[in-house]
């Protein structure tokens, strides 16, 4: 099992799938409230939600891109930006805290 393999290909596939899901497929997602929101509305605590937190002013608030009118493009760009932000913050964190094994030559 120790034969060297390229990880780049599988990483690239994962990234492309994530970008397509967030950037393209998300347009076709259901716009119905999710389970929690639905139950909150039904049982009567939805109005306790405070939706005016500071991040409502973010240019990507509610998965749209500020200044882009086309709904498909606006949501798609927001999705791509979200994937990029998550990858940058998560990937950066994980590279920082990983074990660095100088003897390990199986890395990509």
């Amino acid at each position: 099992m120790s034969r060297p393999r390229s990880n780049r290909r599988v990483f690239a596939v994962l990234l492309v799938v994530a970008l397509l899901v967030a950037g393209v497929a998300s347009y076709y997602a259901s716009s119905h409230p999710d389970g929690l929101e639905y139950v909150a509305g039904k049982t009567g605590f939805l109005e306790t939600a405070d939706e005016d937190g500071p991040s409502i002013d973010s240019p990507l608030a509610d998965y749209g891109t500020e200044g882009v009118d086309d709904e498909r493009l606006s949501g798609g760009l927001a999705g791509v930006a979200g994937v990029a932000l998550t990858l940058a913050i998560g990937g950066g964190l994980f590279l920082l805290i990983r074990r660095r094994d100088p003897a390990d030559k199986t890395g990509d």
Partner: protein
């Protein structure tokens, strides 16, 4: 299941914030054992993949939808401690940039999805895997079971928090029944997505799947035994 600001009172939000901070602090230390030069980039991609997956709300009937939480999926792919960090990063990005999930509720959301979702999902995965044969084909099925259970348990945990510190006085039995009912159906979607993704990666690159290591080790041991046997026969 992103909890907005306002659902829970300040003491409860502070308490879940402390739980989340402690969980993330432990995860930062423990994930070192799961992360090396090979798995660190994979973990970043898993986080990005969970972000994308959470954008896809699927209808579950009666004008309601659900989306992937991703805790069990990430735990099986990259290990539970790294999964807690993956989900926490996703929730942080959503709360900061997408106004999805409140900032004061970030601790609550990390507790529900990054701790309860991840560790319930992973515990069920381990339990199912333990009673099934040590084969690669078992891994996606066990992951799906973990995913299935993780969603209603996270929903029940929210209901418990709401019973303690909810900003509305309600019949909690009614809330619990509704939360469990809908999130069991959403859990089926979670199980299907988790099973398919784990299966796809297990088929192409099982060596990258944290939860498949035991099955791979068993296979390698079998192969070694076969080689030894054939040498003896020869």
């Amino acid at each position: 299941m992103h909890v907005p600001d306002g659902f829970l009172d300040a003491p409860t939000s502070i308490a879940t914030g402390v739980v989340a901070a402690a969980g993330v602090a432990v995860a930062l230390r423990k994930s070192r054992d799961e992360l090396d030069d090979r798995t660190a980039p994979l973990a970043g991609l898993v986080a990005a993949f969970v972000f994308a997956g959470q954008m896809i709300n699927f209808p579950v009937g009666a004008g309601t939808s659900g989306h992937l939480l991703g805790g069990a999926l990430a735990a099986v792919l990259v290990g539970p401690w790294t999964a807690t960090l993956c989900i926490s990063v996703v929730l942080l990005v959503q709360a900061l940039f997408f106004a999805d999930g409140g900032l004061t509720a970030l601790g609550t959301n990390i507790t529900l999805m990054g701790l309860v979702g991840v560790f319930v999902g992973y515990a069920v995965f381990l339990a199912v895997r333990a009673v099934l044969p040590r084969r690669l084909g078992v891994v996606p099925a066990a992951a799906a079971m973990g995913a299935l259970v993780s969603v209603p348990v996270a929903a029940a945990t929210f209901t418990g928090l709401f019973a303690v510190g909810g900003n509305a006085d309600l019949d909690m039995g009614e809330v619990l029944t509704a939360m469990l009912g809908w999130h069991t159906v959403i859990g089926i979607g979670e199980a299907v997505i988790t099973g398919l993704v784990v299966s796809a990666i297990c088929t192409s690159r099982p060596d990258l799947v944290h939860g498949a290591r035991r099955a791979l080790a068993a296979r390698a041991a079998d192969e070694r035994t076969d080689v030894t046997t054939s040498e003896v026969v020869a």
